[in-house]
Subunit: 326 residues, 2 copies
């Protein structure tokens, strides 16, 4: 077996790097959710992370390891939103100039927050443009370092620190359930969790309209899908990365699918019953547990709520359009 691109040691190093910089986010429970699902569920709430999502972990870990020359020149990132905010915030804390390439249909709240952190935002059209290509040409022009959203060992290691904390707080979990976009979060969490507790199961969850990782696993190689359409804007990635896919193939037990309706129902439950503001992507793993997608034997479950950056107008619409079933 070839060695994986990220080790448990990398994650522990990232945890030291992030100590006293990242928030140690709370683990919440809901008696009602447990009663409804017949499981014991522990929600790791990255909605309370700095920048409103887990992305700050990977971004800060990566940026803090730049050379002083690289720091002076600055960084560029491309992102549908939360990675943008994570990089912008980490860059501002480390006094590094940041340029962010964002799709012009990203939620306004994410665009605004990225600019508030002092980053320069460059917009592109997600249907026609290639953001990676655009970021690369900006990077070349201005000698900037590209900070990719997921396919990078230090980014992956940073995201994995979340699972370290979760297992410190609740050591005897049967499984951790994680939303999957490009795979940075789940590959980091799987590396951390299986390093601490080899018997734990790791489940990824994708939206039905964005099942690139599930398809890639089934075919045994990376499969690209057309620009995915799902309400979960944080996981609209057309394909996993080479590094994240290698880790997912080895360490992830299964990738499950949920519909947009199921995601919205979970989001409403989070707001109405748990008093948590979550974004659609943040409700994806929760939706899989609510809808009974996990095997019966999996009883004690860690669920990652990946972020809470939802446009207030969209949240308002989702809340007004119907009541949660419970």
């Amino acid at each position: 077996m070839t060695a994986l691109p990220v080790t448990f040691d990398d994650i522990q190093r990232a945890a030291r790097q992030l100590r006293s910089v990242a928030n140690r986010t709370p683990v919440m429970t809901s008696r009602t959710f447990d009663r409804l699902t017949g499981r014991q569920v522990f929600f790791k709430c990255e909605s309370f992370q700095r920048g409103g999502a887990f992305k700050f972990r990977g971004a800060y870990n990566r940026l803090s390891q730049l050379s002083s020359e690289e720091r002076l020149r600055g960084v560029v990132a491309y992102s549908s939103g939360n990675h943008a905010q994570g990089v912008a915030l980490a860059a501002s804390l480390l006094n590094i100039p940041a340029t962010i390439v964002m799709p012009n249909d990203a939620p306004y709240v994410k665009l605004q927050a990225t600019r508030e952190y002092g980053a320069e935002v460059v917009l592109f059209d997600r249907q026609t443009g290639d953001r990676e290509q655009l970021a690369r040409s900006i990077a070349e022009e201005r000698s900037l370092t590209i900070i990719p959203p997921f396919n990078d060992p230090q980014i992956i290691a940073g995201q994995g620190t979340l699972a370290l904390e979760l297992l410190e707080d609740v050591p005897d979990l049967d499984a951790i359930v994680v939303p999957v976009g490009g795979g940075g979060l789940i590959s980091g969490c799987a590396t951390a969790a299986k390093g601490l507790r080899p018997t734990i199961a790791i489940y990824g969850v994708e939206a039905e309209g964005a099942d690139d990782v599930r398809r890639s696993l089934q075919q045994g190689h990376i499969v690209s899908i057309p620009p995915p359409s799902t309400i979960a804007d944080g996981i609209r990635t057309p394909a996993p990365g080479s590094l994240t896919f290698a880790i997912i193939q080895r360490l992830v037990d299964d990738v499950l699918l949920v519909s947009d309706e199921e995601i919205i129902e979970a989001l409403r439950f989070a707001v109405q019953r748990m008093k948590l503001v979550v974004e659609p992507t943040g409700a994806v793993a929760m939706a899989a547990v609510m809808c009974g997608r996990l095997p019966e034997r999996v009883q004690r479950i860690g669920v990652v709520i990946s972020g809470g950056n939802i446009d207030p107008t969209l949240l308002g619409q989702l809340l007004e359009s119907g009541d949660v079933h419970s």
Copy 2:
């Protein structure tokens, strides 16, 4: 000086009664809120309490001290909402039959939750009916024990346990800021906090349209106002109680006022920036700090977010109708 109706010992006893039954709610912080206000603020989030508000504390403390005969016969309570849910939930945990008298304009989510906890709900018209009178006649008819919403030593002691926890987590606060309706929460918190830390300041906050306690303090005796109109439905009380007012007169440093617009702005900040679902009453103390109502010298501040039970339709409307200034 006459002795006050609730002692620090009562609160410590209540804390023992509630241990492993009530949630120890988290204390949250926001770097952005601190930067905007120039203070260090610690939010005690009773939105995460069982039943979605602090009311469960007092209700459970009171109900757990009924005789076995009283438990068999059952209890009756009158409430604009959260006390209803608190009593209904505590009663269901203790296997006590509960009847709740609620205004017919209470938020639907509170009516529904009260019924879900197994209580019988009796509706009345807040503009014409006297809920206290109605509860009393039901109590007589069916030999039930009345559980008043605030004017009761065991209710007050239960609510005060919140301040014990807050000061255990953050011992060196200059002040605690608390929303004021009938005064049960603030009189319990003041008794607890000044028992632990005599130099701490306690500030109450009322909505402009519901300033019965501020007026009562100014006049030196209990003043009744007409049925108050404010978006903060949890503090629409026309007058403080005899017990709560006696404690407030002795232990509360000042009662401040905020407008409905200021409450809504604080609520939006909580949702958009802190990812917390709070009800309008829950945002009242936060609004006072946001709007600079506290003296400059008060730097380290505990703010009580009293609950998170907001009708999803109302929350949707508040979120869609404008952006938070920040």
